[in-house]
């Protein structure tokens, strides 16, 4: 596919790959600075009275006793702040028909999930604020709760929003070709219903904000653990009726985010409202139970899917009916329709599948809201597809590698449009499958598996192909009406010392963004990475941009830094030419020195150039003004997204007596385009895989039939620990994208996309001789023993 950057001269090796991240050195020495680590004078603390019910009318709220507790500064409910905070609605124009009611920072008249914030208390200490919560008296009228997906879908069940005629928030249908005809003429059909358990984000640093409003200047400074400070600057500006230039959002170290810290939460908005009310800095740090109750949840899906194939194993069509429960509101501003939308579009996406019908139903419930999280929708699409492919392989007695090789899209087909509507520039499925088969020594594993089965040991091998959505382009949130930028900006200057300082709008939450941006700048300028300092996460000190989400940091942020570096380099070469009375086109910069290309000899160092340009411009020609800093912005071009691809495999053992799964090995072969930093790419993949493994084996937000969250501690919500996780072997293919100058595609979602799918496939492979099939995640011992008929 001819992209806008097809003929660009690109570096494929980046300087500084062998250096540790400077952030890592800092954190290893205990020098991190998270929101809760910053000291403030005159700080107040906010805590929330939360709904004990999943669904209840608020008849009366009595805060008189709470208000009179010594140390309490302010107490307010939703109706007390309607004059300073306007409501919001989680809708986007590109999901026509999506509906969701207005929301305020606190429940207004009715509580719609267990844990929804109802009353805010501001006090001199968090402990006093929590003491005051116990003095609040609310009269409730409990209402029937909508909890499960079937419960929400039921025509005669209770409604989450009485003003709507049903619990449907959004319905979408996709059609490609003629799936009905394909199914009518298929040799074989496989079908199943998968249920994916609701998860949550569980960042180790909980949601955190200190809102500091200065009434004398009408200026708000928010120290906020968010991925997306510019989006939050816009939100605070509009909903609190402030001037944008008077709103500063600073994101210091962010202790994990994974998409969870992209969204607008009532508690953070209430903290801003509190600071405006009292004119003091107000801190909200979620405690762990509050995190479980009020962070976004994700991926509660029930998917009925069918696949039609020829007897040779060619996939003809899929028909998918995906229902997802999103809680009572579509989350603002990115909506809760995105996850299902991407899941539906990713069904069958790696394969030559001409016919497809998909239906998505997004349902309201009385549970915590769900929204975008790492690998948005991918695990659902990949797990559904790969489960059906394995069912078909078993039915046809084909090897899982063989059926996948037969069906993946091939080099002669690109660019192509998938049945779900995605445009793929170029992928490398065949090469990835070949590499994986060798990497895992597949035939030896099959031999071992067969031998152990003779001895009553049940091991399984699972394989899964995936594509990953990255680098969202301009036709995304902005088109839907959300003020979320798709472009990024970079300011870059030469310090007088010859060092480079850059300020860039992509942000760091541990991925290594700052290191990668320094690498790109160092590589394209021709300087040592240790001579580049990077500023991120402050709306007042960096150009405006989209920040870091959807694996856009490397591809879009990196391209922004690249074009800025090329522009600054051109300026520096021009200055060198003026100083030396030479020709700029004959010079280059290597290792921090301007060299003569012909002789390869240094002609002037950057420190010397900086000294002359900043302090002795009198020695330069009259009316010459050295341009020592540049700002460049970069808008992603070409297709609406980039796509990476890869394949994963799992080898595991199922104890058929206890139902416990032991992960033995895990492999990933991935193609993220040009690799900027191999170690950081591999660690993104490993971290992502473990998120997928947690979801498929352990993690589930369990609600009682009344809608009470029953897994609200880290002892009840089981996330992966070191002794449960395998080593993860990684190999790469490199197919650059011509849609960005840098050629990097992004890698943040890849690990999570398919890790769960390959574990499900491996468990079902292990249990195949026992005629047991798992189809509900997480794959708990109880579910496995039930499938085996043992309990």
């Amino acid at each position: 596919m001819s992209g806008p950057y097809e003929n660009i001269e690109r570096h494929t090796q980046f300087v500084g790959q062998d250096k540790p991240r400077r952030n890592a050195v800092r954190h290893a020495h205990g020098r991190g600075k998270f929101v809760d680590d910053i000291a403030f004078a005159n700080l107040a603390h906010i805590a929330f009275f939360r709904s004990p019910y999943a669904h209840a009318e608020i008849l009366n709220i009595d805060v008189s006793e709470a208000k009179s507790l010594p140390g309490v500064v302010d107490v307010f409910t939703a109706s007390d702040i309607t004059d300073i905070c306007t409501p919001w609605v989680g809708k986007l124009d590109h999901f026509p028909g999506l509906r969701s009611p207005e929301q305020l920072p606190l429940a207004n008249g009715r509580a719609r999930w267990n844990g929804e914030a109802v009353v805010a208390v501001v006090a001199e200490t968090r402990a006093i604020a929590e003491d005051a919560l116990e003095l609040i008296d609310v009269d409730w009228q409990e209402l029937p709760a909508v909890v499960g997906i079937d419960n929400s879908r039921s025509k005669d069940g209770p409604l989450v929003h009485p003003e709507y005629d049903s619990n449907e928030a959004f319905v979408m249908e996709l059609t490609a070709g003629d799936s009905a005809d394909a199914f009518a003429n298929a040799d074989i059909i496989v079908e199943d219903t998968l249920e994916l358990g609701r998860q949550t984000g569980l960042t180790l640093e909980p949601r955190s904000i200190v809102a500091d409003f200065d009434p004398s200047m009408q200026k708000l400074t928010a120290y906020h653990s968010t991925q997306t400070p510019y989006q939050m600057q816009d939100i605070f500006t509009r909903h609190f009726n402030l001037s944008e230039e008077n709103v500063r959002v600073i994101s210091p170290d962010v202790g994990g985010s994974f998409g969870m810290k992209l969204h607008v939460y009532g508690e953070e908005m209430a903290a801003v409202a509190a600071s405006i009310r009292i004119g003091r800095p107000v801190k909200f740090i979620a405690d762990r139970m509050e995190s479980f109750l009020s962070d976004i949840h994700l991926r509660e899906h029930k998917v009925h899917a069918r696949m039609a194939l020829t007897k040779e194993g060619d996939i003809l069509a899929m028909q998918v009916d995906d229902a997802t429960g999103i809680g009572p509101f579509s989350v603002y501003p990115r909506t809760s329709a995105m996850e299902g939308n991407q899941a539906l579009r990713l069904m069958g996406a790696p394969y030559k599948m001409p016919h497809y019908d998909g239906k998505l139903t997004v349902l309201f419930q009385n549970k915590a809201p769900t929204c975008q999280y790492r690998a948005v929708g991918h695990p659902i699409g990949v797990m559904t597809t790969e489960h059906l492919v394995d069912l078909a392989a078993k039915k046809l007695d084909m090897d899982p590698f063989e059926i996948r090789r037969r069906n993946v899209t091939t080099q002669d087909m690109y660019p192509l449009k998938t049945a779900g509507g995605y445009i793929l520039e170029r992928l490398s499925h065949e090469e990835c499958l070949d590499k994986l088969e060798k990497l895992m020594d597949y035939s030896a594993l099959r031999t071992e598996q067969a031998e152990l089965r003779e001895r009553g040991i049940y091991r399984g091998i699972g394989i899964g192909v995936f594509i990953e959505i990255t680098n969202p382009g301009p036709a995304f949130y902005g088109v839907g009406g959300a003020r979320i930028s798709s472009q990024d900006g970079c300011f870059m200057k030469l310090e007088p010392s010859g060092k480079i300082r850059i300020a860039v709008s992509v942000t760091e939450q541990g991925q290594g963004t700052e290191t990668v941006m320094a690498q790109v700048a160092a590589t394209y300028l021709g300087v040592d990475i240790d001579h580049v300092d990077v500023i991120t996460g402050d709306t007042e000190r960096t150009p405006y941009g989209g920040a870091t989400w959807a694996s856009r940091g490397a591809g879009i942020g990196g391209s922004t830094v690249m074009v800025a570096a090329l522009a600054l380099k051109e300026n520096l070469l021009e200055i060198a030419a003026v100083i030396l009375q030479g020709d700029a086109s004959k010079f280059d910069i290597v290792d921090g020195e301007v060299i003569d290309i012909a002789t390869k000899r240094a002609v002037i160092s950057l420190p010397e150039l900086g000294r002359i340009a900043y302090f002795r411009p009198d020695t330069l020609p009259a009316d010459y003004h050295p341009q020592l800093s540049v700002t460049r912005h970069y808008v992603p071009q070409g297709t609406p997204f980039d796509f990476t691809n890869g394949v994963q495999a799992s080898y595991l053992e199922v104890d058929t007596e206890t139902g416990i799964v032991k992960l033995l090995d895990h492999w990933v072969v991935e193609d993220c385009g040009i690799i900027l930093n191999r170690q950081l790419v591999d660690e993104q993949i490993r971290g992502g895989v473990v998120h997928g493994l947690g979801g498929v084996l352990f993690e589930e937000c369990l609600y009682s039939p009344e809608g009470q969250l029953m897994s609200a501690t880290m002892a009840d919500y089981l996330a992966p620990l070191a002794n449960e996780m395998p080593d993860i072997h990684i190999a790469h293919c490199e197919t650059p994208t011509n849609m960005t100058p840098l050629g990097a595609k992004g890698v943040g979602e890849a690990g999570t996309a398919a890790a769960g799918a390959v574990v499900l496939n491996a468990v079902n492979d292990a249990l195949h001789p026992l005629n047991a099939t798992l189809r509900t995640t997480p794959l708990t011992p109880e579910r496995i023993l039930t499938a085996l008929g043992k309990i």
Binding site: V689, L721, N723, M725
Partner: protein
Amino acid sequence: MDPRCALSFKLNGRQVEQDVSPRTSLADMLRNQMGLTATHIGCEQGSCGACNVMVDGKTVRSCLIFAIQLEGAEVETSQGFDDDPLMEALRDNFAKRNALQCGFCTGGMLLAARDLINMTPRPDRNEIREHISGNFCRCTGYEAIVDAIWKTAHEMPSLEGKK
């Protein structure tokens, strides 16, 4: 307002005095009264390990112990160990191997690693995985942490011949 109690203990090698409310946890005192913010609070329920400190040589969840229980104790936090070659080697290897991403779990993880190597100078990978399974990391998937601890343990010259 809460009553206050006088407290005297040794913190990272120095004798210190504090006035503390009886309901204040050690983690809150370290962070809020003493400015030692590298002891992170991830759960306040004893699950996550981010707030680990050493009390009289034993690993303790500082969120689960009241500060007033520390009278006369010796407390070491992840911000101590400045002259400790093992801790310095661990910090160096964690950074080099990218055994941390967001950095929130790192202080507790380093203490767990140091504790392990002091007890088992040449641990194998499984022993490392078992020992750090009281500490959650949500970013790395643990493998890089295991690598960094293994490398430190197996390359520390001062540990030669201990096992």
